[in-house]
């Protein structure tokens, strides 16, 4: 094989330099354990809990909202107080549901960092945390949505919600046409993570 055709090796995780923040996080973890504030076991459980969270909980809430108007009203008033009706823990950080209509399409972002309703959607996708998404979606939301394959009509207002530190948002997408015969579980299957962020529409 000639020199020109050599492929670079994929770097191993320890090949990149350790950053200040990684060192600080590690030092903090060691201190909390040494001082008995946390145990390694408690930390492991937290990480495992975070790993199993995914968008399925959010999708169940949306499917119930599509089939039960009163539930939807309660969800719009308080996601945190209403989610336990389905056995879902939405945590203590207040989550506000924003409902898509024929007049308004909602999209969520955190321009300052990466605030996200992790209790209902799991860990955010990498693009949600990228500088490109965070800076562009407030300025040119239609161009960003188009890159996701999502076209919003000219007669619909695109409303972008920029979370700060204290509130999180969950988009309630519009129920797709022609889904009258579907039960709640089948409806939940149409609700993707991205349509609860607002960058996509439910599966049709």
């Amino acid at each position: 094989m000639s020199e020109a055709h050599r492929h670079p090796n994929q770097p191993d995780v320890e090949d990149s330099p350790v950053t200040t923040y990684q060192v600080m996080a590690r030092a903090l973890e060691d201190l909390l354990i040494e001082k008995g504030v946390l145990t390694p076991d408690a930390l492991r459980r937290q990480i495992e809990d975070a790993d199993v969270r995914g968008p399925a909980n959010g999708a169940r809430l949306i499917a119930r909202a599509w089939t039960d108007e009163d539930f939807e009203s309660r969800l719009l008033r308080s996601v945190n107080q209403t989610a336990p009706e389905l056995g879902i823990d939405a945590g203590t950080t207040p989550i506000t549901a924003v409902k898509n209509t024929r007049a308004v399409h909602n999209v969520i972002v955190c321009t300052l960092c990466s605030c996200y309703p992790t209790m209902l959607l799991g860990s955010p996708p990498d693009w949600y945390k990228s500088g490109a998404y965070r800076s562009r979606v407030v300025r040119a939301p239609r161009a960003v949505l188009a890159e996701f394959g999502t076209e919003i009509g000219a007669d619909v207002e695109v409303r972008v919600h920029d979370s700060s530190a204290d509130l999180r948002y969950l988009v309630i997408p519009m129920r797709p046409e022609g889904t009258d015969g579907l039960d709640e579980e089948a409806l939940a299957g149409l609700v993707t993570r991205d349509c609860m962020i607002g960058t996509a529409l439910p599966i049709t």
Binding site: P94, T96, V138, R139, R142, V160, D162, S164, L167
Partner: protein
């Protein structure tokens, strides 16, 4: 602490640029919007970030800005909007509506 601004009121974000852990994005500073919701009271993250108490809870507002107010001719569509969570100490009354 009772909220100084009401739902539907026109407010302006202070055009201030203090250093530190500030939770008001640059792109709305000096801009005028409408109070979309009065969203409860929260301890000030600009204090909490430095280990100070921030005991005085501040009202938090969801303020809606039009695309044209934020980006002028650069807005994709004048009627699209951005809603931003802003603590009360960043807001002042706006005279003469949105300009």
């Amino acid at each position: 602490m009772s909220a100084r601004f009401a739902l539907g009121e026109t407010v302006r974000v202070r055009a201030a640029y203090p250093p530190g852990h500030v939770r008001t994005p640059f792109y709305v500073r000096g801009r005028t919007g409408i109070v979309d919701a009065v969203a409860g009271t929260y301890r000030n993250p600009e204090e909490l970030a430095y280990g100070r108490g921030g005991e005085l809870a501040l009202p938090l507002y969801r303020v809606r800005f039009s695309g044209v107010e934020l980006w002028a001719d650069g807005a994709e569509r004048a009627t699209d909007s951005v809603v931003v969570d802003i603590l009360e100490h960043w807001l002042e009354p706006a005279q003469g509506g949105i300009g």
